[in-house]
Amino acid sequence: MSRSIVVISAGLANPSSTRLLADQLATATDVALRSHGEAADVHVIELRELAHPLADHLLTGFPTGELAQAIEMVRKADGLVVVTPVFAASYSGLFKMFFEVLDKDLLRGKPVLLGATAGTARHSLVLEHAMRPLFSYLGAVTVPTAVFAATEDFGRAGSGDFAARIATAGRELAALVLGAPRVVPQDPFDNVTPFDQLLKG
């Protein structure tokens, strides 16, 4: 059986180190799921491609086209891998915009693995001081191990610690996904509150 893992990358360049980290985290999750006889069905959302629809959504209040599809994908996801570059000491504005337009409670109870990239390791606490509080607020279940990648983590000798951290994070996300009930999207129009009950206040 496969579990839907949706990767959300806010990297802007191509190739992007943010996307590179996101892919590694998704692969680690897939490896971990396979060790339990399951697999990850991975979908990648590149927020760069949604920049215009996101700005439109802020103004009009509804998602169009590919943004609507991306939100649907998140709604149905069993787990998320979310990775942002660090801009001005926090997640990027584009990254935050995506999570601002999701319906309230859409992420509630959903396992989320956090990742961030920056030019220097001095920004690494962005994971704990910015990203984790955001996802706590949204009601997501964050994976204990979050992964930060500075420029020096890519391709340097002795980066075994970094690879081990990615594997640990992937295992933890897989464990949460396997332990969580399958996502069954609810349609609020199917279960309307009867009017007698509304009248009672």
Partner: protein, 363 residues
Amino acid sequence: MQFGIFTVGDVTTDPTTGHTPSEHERIKNTVAIAKKAEEVGLDVVAFGQHHNPPFAASSPTTTMAYVAAQTSKILLSTSTTLITTTDPVRIAEDYAQLQHLADGRIDLMLGRGNTGPVYPWFGKDIRDGIALAVENYALLRRLWDEDVVTWEGKFRTPLQGFTSTPRPLDGVPPFVWHGSIRSPEIAEQAAYYGDGFFSNHIFWPASHTKQMVALYRRRFEHYGHGTADQAIVGLGGQVYMAKSSQDAVREFRPYFDVAPVYGHGPSLEDFMEATPLTVGSPQQVIERTLGFRDYVGDYQRQLFLMDHAGLPLSTVLKQLDLLGSEVVPVLRKEFAALAGPDVPDAPTHESLLAARQSEAVAV
């Protein structure tokens, strides 16, 4: 089926000339637009209620009484009457008074209002929006349906042996529509009472309208008011027309690009695809509007937004000429040919009075 226009009454600068109408000018223009709507053969004109700039429309019943005195056939309605922040006692009184003056040529559409700061000006809280709509409307119904009301609720002072005056014309309260974009509770409310449900429809994807109307129809039948396809549905629409679609787009784009609500956002083309907005030839408007029926079924009232975003009066009047001469006559014929045999018309004062009289005879 009824065709008409609805307005919100915004005072907006014309981006092509820089002219900002005064409130006086805007209010008089609204009257001119309403009179023109009757002249070109439309059935309904609906007025907004707003309590904050840039709107000049805080007292719809005043405007409606003035327009009623200067017209003879067109039905006057609202878009919308704020059921949350207006005292239901005042709604009961104002609209009954208006019924008498207009000889029953009115109905009203209730809405909650989505401007947070307005609520506290009237002693209310936007977070109670649904609860206010539920309690206030339940009281409004009693004030119209019962001569003497003793009542206690959460949101206003209790009433002890109160009679709302004047009593509704011929003992028949105005027909009520409930308007909402995507709150299932309001579709449920309209269904519970067997009232009309109006989907704003414009500025939003059709999927919202489809979901809300389907819910309303299902629950209308559940509450025993008739079959789902006999429920009373109204839709908004937004159009700008010229003889050729290229001219329409060229003329409307400067208004679209900086319009309140959606301006500075999506392109005109994207917004036309995502929402019911149609900018094009009369034929394109006809085709698009007929298509609404595909996802809501047979419906009773189609209102178009024609006068917002700073469009000058002369332009709006020309648009109404096109609507009345080239679009609505075709829509009337086509919708009538498509409609199922058991689909009722929207209730009017006359039809409600006739229904009451035949009930009385049956008893």
